[in-house]
């Protein structure tokens, strides 16, 4: 008994003591991530202060919140926006933008490019590389010489030279690492010559879509002797399934393969319980045609001809990446395609630099042989060469950045009055209640920015500290026109099929009063009539917005049923006349209940004639949502339903309504459904890349891999656009025009109608007016499909603390916003701010202050 008692007591004590001791021990050993004190005066690097080139008192701290902890701010592998927060402070590009001020020191609302990690703007040296690196005689704007800033150094004073840039790019494109951000240099407008070949030089073969290999149909590929492979995992859900011998089903299986795999989704003994690639092809092959929503599920196995491709250039074509060191402080970048000035500087507004000694020490090799680096994942593995350095990092908790005493900008005399902020403190606030917590934290004076919800606008709508910031996102309906899917959803009492009718989709569009919607659910936002909103800049030199161009306004007018008259005046559908384009444009509302009713009648007649609808059915549009509906979202859907009901005429459809479907089970399943076009309606937004409007139509609405439209786009290859190019009428599909705008035609062998060849120019070299014409034509064509119905252009509301000012009160554009950290100035030091809060708060809260000021 004594033994038993001892053992039991010891065991009980051990389990509690061990857990506690482990906890305490673990936290005590975590000395490297020492957290900062709550924001307040302190001097970074205090111990070696006397040796530092710059020393200043840390009196201006900007306090911010974040929702998800940064995981890696490695420039080669970062993923999320949160990851890029730290990266944005500890690095700086070759070139950057700053606000322009007039002689009185007031911002003019414009910006200018300045050199940072470079000492001069890039010089076109293409002619020096003719015959090498893919440069042909007569080419221009492909090879660029960049003189490096000789004052630049790491945060320990180690100088940065051309060797660092070469080493860093070799790591970025290392075929053994396959870094996520390598695609920044292997695709798009800033594709470095040979980068892609080098990156995949250890990859034996890849699966490519049939269309991308120059075949117009699957049958054509088969006729040419090609073997087609079907994606058994993603198309048919056979991941993890096995054959009779226990062999696992591979992802890609030849369509002629008759090996059967047990499909666990089907009951044993039922039809289809064992299925082969040949069976799937026989049943669904017609759905998987080139150009269809499902084309990505069928591929050709393309042998990689560039296995072993080297870094150094050789005349055999089996080596050469377009990044060359010409002296210790000069590099030359050779791009695959010509690039315009803006895009060159824009792409060089960040660098790929990593610190060699640290990067190498952070490398790890997984058991499968893939090499990765833990560089920039913690305080110890981070090196800085920007204005700030990371001084503390507690994962999933907080981090602090303090000024980098070795940054050249503090001593070079070119940054006077800039970067006044001495430190930045970021605190994690996450979870369901994060907004409420952030608001309380802000009101206690601990945060310097907080978002304001529409329900809070009644309190802070007139505050001088309220900021209304446009976003590049256009919220819109993404409507399904996938015939098979819609018809498969129909029941005796529910109809989904009518959604495939363009007239029906347009009726929905004209039923919605966008201005009423904005007032009710997004007060700061603007009604949207186009796919691109007022953030998109077509001419970065002048700041010209796409939406302000004549072509874009014309698109909005035509889409909304206006007719242009010979004298330049415009007439609405009901006959109202406007003298010119501007006055007509101002009158667009997008809401026309009479026309909506007419379209509903037209859709009804068409549906009945085609046998798509019977009078016992309610028209139901399932709105796909990955999670449970919020109260606001439910109210929004009700609002839309009310709008449809008001416009739906008697004697047509029994009813038209949106119903939420939330039963996807996981976010992944939701995305799968979206990608496959198996969703009636998605109400979401697409935006980003506001300085590069050219890639938006292709990237967001057409490219099957990167598109909100996903399975919803089945038309772009069948719709033709004819445009005048230097007096010549050029006709090509919407897909091809959008692809050309995306700079994709130079590589594309999709069809013979290669616009790069026909036009003789890439988008980078083309005339601006012509590019705007193409963009506008693509936008109009896409809008006319009525697959995308724009609802509003998104704006966000926020409160900014009284502690600091932005460089300008007027939002300039996405590139520079309000001026950013470079131009922030402070009204109070940290200690003065503490006093301010105590003097102006009521019970420790600044709520009253911000409501009344």
């Amino acid at each position: 008994m004594a033994n038993f008692k001892k053992i039991a007591a010891a065991a009980a004590a051990c389990i509690l003591a061990a857990t506690f001791t482990f906890g305490v021990a673990a936290c005590k050993t975590d000395t490297t991530d020492t957290p900062p004190s709550p924001p307040g005066p302190e001097t970074p690097g205090e111990d070696d202060q006397t040796e530092l080139p710059v020393s200043k008192e840390d009196v201006y701290t900007l306090n911010q919140a974040f929702a998800a902890s940064p995981n890696t701010w490695n420039p080669h592998a970062w993923e999320s926006n949160t990851d890029s927060i730290i990266l944005g402070y500890i690095t700086i590009g070759f070139y950057d933008v700053q606000l322009v001020y007039d002689e009185n020191g007031d911002p003019t609302g414009e910006y200018e490019w300045v050199t940072e990690m470079a000492s001069a703007f890039p010089v076109d040296v293409t002619s020096q590389y003719v015959g090498r690196y893919g440069v042909n005689s007569g080419d221009t704007r492909k090879a660029w010489e960049i003189s490096l800033n000789e004052l630049a150094c790491w945060d320990d004073g180690t100088p940065i030279t051309a060797d660092d840039y070469i080493y860093s790019m070799q790591q970025q494109l290392d075929p053994a690492m396959l870094n996520r951000r390598a695609d920044s240099y292997t695709s798009g407008t800033f594709t470095i010559y040979g980068a892609s070949k080098y990156l995949y030089s250890q990859t034996e073969a890849t699966y490519e879509t049939v269309g991308s290999q120059g075949y117009a149909t699957n049958a054509a590929a088969i006729a040419a002797g090609e073997t087609l492979y079907i994606d058994m995992w993603n198309f048919y859900g056979l991941s993890g399934m096995v054959d009779a011998d226990g062999n696992e089903c591979p992802q890609w299986v030849a369509i002629t393969d008759t090996v059967k795999y047990r499909d666990l989704a089907v009951e044993e003994g039922a039809d289809g319980d064992w299925v082969s690639a040949a069976d799937i092809w026989a049943s669904y092959g017609s759905m998987l045609e080139v150009g269809s929503s499902y084309e990505s599920y069928v591929s050709l196995l393309v042998e990689n001809e560039d296995v072993g491709y080297g870094w150094d250039y050789n005349a055999n074509g089996n080596g050469g990446v377009g990044l060359i060191k010409t002296d210790d402080y000069k590099i030359v970048i050779i791009l695959q395609d010509s690039i315009d000035d803006f895009n060159l500087k824009y792409n060089l507004s960040s660098t790929w630099l990593v610190k060699k000694s640290l990067y190498d020490s952070c490398k790890t090799t997984t058991e499968s042989g893939l090499v990765s680096s833990t560089y920039c994942t913690s305080l110890e593995t981070t090196a800085s060469y920007g204005p700030y350095k990371l001084t503390s990092f507690n994962r999933d908790s907080d981090f602090k950045l303090s000024y980098n005493p070795y940054w050249y900008g503090y001593v070079d005399g070119k940054h006077e009055g800039q970067f006044q902020t001495t430190s930045l403190y970021y605190r994690m606030i996450s979870g369901e209640s994060s907004h409420d917590t952030s608001m309380m934290y802000f009101m206690q004076g601990n945060l310097d920015d907080v978002s304001v919800l529409s329900t809070e606008m009644q309190y802070y709508g007139s505050s001088q500290y309220l900021t209304q910031t446009p976003e590049s996102y256009t919220y819109q309906f993404f409507l399904c026109n996938n015939k098979q899917w819609l018809e498969s959803e129909d029941t005796a009492t529910e109809n989904h099929s009518v959604l495939q009718l363009e007239s029906f989709r347009r009726a929905l569009s004209y039923s919605i009063s966008r201005s009423e919607y904005c007032s009710a659910y997004s007060p700061a936002s603007q009604p949207g009539f186009g796919l691109l909103n007022y953030c998109y800049v077509v001419d970065p030199e002048t700041g010209l917005l796409y939406r302000d161009t004549e072509q874009a306004k014309r698109v909005s007018l035509l889409y909304n049923g206006f007719t242009e008259n010979a004298d330049g005046s415009w007439t609405t559908r009901n006959g109202t006349k406007f003298d010119d384009l501007e006055s007509a444009y101002e009158a667009i509302s997008g809401y026309d209940p009479t026309y909506a009713a007419e379209l509903f009648r037209e859709a009804y007649a068409e549906a009945v004639q085609l046998g798509l609808y019977n009078d016992n059915q309610d028209v139901v549009i399932y709105y796909g949502n990955p999670g449970e509906l919020s109260t606001v979202l439910s109210a929004m859907l009700e609002w839309f339903n009310k709008s449809f009901a008001e416009c739906l005429p008697e004697g047509t459809f029994k009813s038209v309504s949106i119903k939420a479907y939330t039963g996807y089970g996981s976010e992944d399943a939701y995305w799968q459904a979206l990608k496959a076009g198996q969703m009636d309606l998605s109400f979401s937004a697409w935006g980003g890349a506001a300085m590069d409007p050219w890639s938006i139509i292709y990237g967001s609405y057409i490219d099957p891999a990167n598109s909100n439209n996903y399975g919803f786009d089945s038309l772009s290859k069948t719709l033709d656009i004819t445009l005048d190019y230097n007096g010549k009428q050029v006709t090509a599909s919407l897909y091809d025009w959008a692809s050309w705008l995306n700079n994709g035609q130079a590589d594309s062998a999709y069809d013979e109608n290669n616009l790069y060849t026909i036009l003789g120019t890439s988008v980078g070299e083309a005339d601006l007016e012509f590019k705007i014409d193409v963009l506008a034509a693509c936008e109009l064509k896409q809008l006319e499909t009525a697959v995308n119905i724009p609802i509003y252009y998104s704006y966000t509301n926020g409160l900014q603390s009284a502690k600091y000012n932005n460089g300008t009160d007027i939002y300039v554009n996405e590139l520079i916003g309000y001026g950013g950290i470079r131009h922030i100035t402070f009204n109070y030091t940290n200690s003065e701010w503490t006093q301010f809060v105590s003097q102006n708060s009521v019970n420790g809260s600044l709520e009253n202050y911000y409501r009344t000021h």
């Binding site: 038993f4 509690l16 906890g23 305490v24 997984t366 058991e367 833990t374 507690n394 990167n706 420790g844």
Partner: protein
């Protein structure tokens, strides 16, 4: 007895192996997360997955996994979350916060819960008992995050007694850190206190009416002496295992509380690892919780004998 303990430990290890093997096979059977991004990005990710061995047969991956564990106790690197960072480092870094909050909560809950339970049992069917029982029902029924919101708003924001968010200092023994954790501790403790009170009251009420209690009083013990020496000790046979069980349950149940007070604990990591399909994190955390559960089971069984000498284990 030693033989019994060894046998239980070996069985626990075997159970752990079986559970983890099943977990491994099941999660590997799930399809990989959808890659969203440009065509080039999708190609790159696919190539990475291929290179990382994602497309090897599950059996091969299974043996590689156990090989790593047995030879070097290596749980691998983050693949979908905390990319290429050591799984054990990340978990070890986040565990102290969770353990501290839960342990403090338990330290607060046990004495209060037991005392209230004893008081309610002694005052059974009087107004004190009814009041305590009503409050117990309220606190058992309402989820802890509701208290968390109330505490954060009232005590932290309106009254300013506590900081709105937990301290980021990792010295969980420092008074100011403990003070900053108090709102979270209270939020977790209310439910536990109610649970302990309810069980203690129920068990003690039953014991207090037993015949040996009458005998104890008859032989001259005071009510207090009889309650503490005889009644409480017998009631603890049921209550003590509950305390250990409670510790395990709150260890895994503090997800929302950690999030509300920005405590960098392990709570959300398990869910994130599942939703992100990060195999290595999922396996490591599953192993942790399973091991804690199995160890606690053994300790609970052993504790019966410690508390009640009449109980013998492993003796035929």
């Amino acid at each position: 007895m030693l033989k019994y303990v060894i046998k239980r430990l070996l069985l626990a290890v075997l159970t752990l192996f079986i559970i983890l093997s099943l977990c491994f096979i099941f999660i590997k059977m799930l399809p990989l997360p959808v890659v969203n991004g440009s065509t080039e990005m999708v190609e790159l990710i696919e190539a990475r997955r291929e290179a990382m061995g994602y497309y090897k047969p599950i059996l091969e991956q299974f043996f590689l996994f156990w090989g790593r564990i047995f030879t070097s106790f290596d749980w691998g690197y983050g693949e979908q979350i905390y990319q290429m960072q050591s799984v054990t480092d990340i978990i070890a870094g986040k565990l102290p916060a969770t353990i501290a909050v839960n342990l403090y909560s338990l330290i607060l809950s046990i004495p209060i819960g037991l005392l209230l339970g004893i008081y309610a049992a002694v005052k059974k069917n009087k107004w004190q008992d009814h009041t305590i029982s009503t409050l117990v029902m309220v606190f058992v029924s309402v989820p802890s995050f509701v208290y968390a919101f109330l505490i954060q708003y009232l005590l932290c924001y309106r009254l300013g007694w506590f900081p709105l968010l937990a301290s980021t200092d990792t010295n969980y023994l420092a008074p100011e850190v403990v003070w900053s954790l108090m709102p979270a501790i209270f939020s977790l403790a209310f439910g536990s206190i109610a649970g302990f009170t309810r069980y203690t009251r129920a068990e003690l009420s039953e014991v207090l009416t037993s015949e040996y209690m009458l005998l104890a009083r008859a032989k001259g013990l005071t009510r207090r002496q009889a309650t503490i020496r005889h009644a409480l000790r017998n009631a603890m046979v049921v209550i003590f295992p509950m305390i250990l069980g409670e510790f395990i349950s709150i260890l895994s149940g503090s997800l929302i509380i950690e999030s509300i007070f920005s405590i960098p604990g392990i709570g959300s990591l398990y869910v994130t690892s599942i939703t992100s399909l990060d195999y290595n994190f999922f396996m490591a955390i599953s192993a942790f919780y399973t091991a804690v559960g199995l160890a606690a089971g053994i300790v609970i069984d052993l504790s019966y004998g410690l508390i009640d000498p009449r109980i013998r284990m492993g003796v035929k």
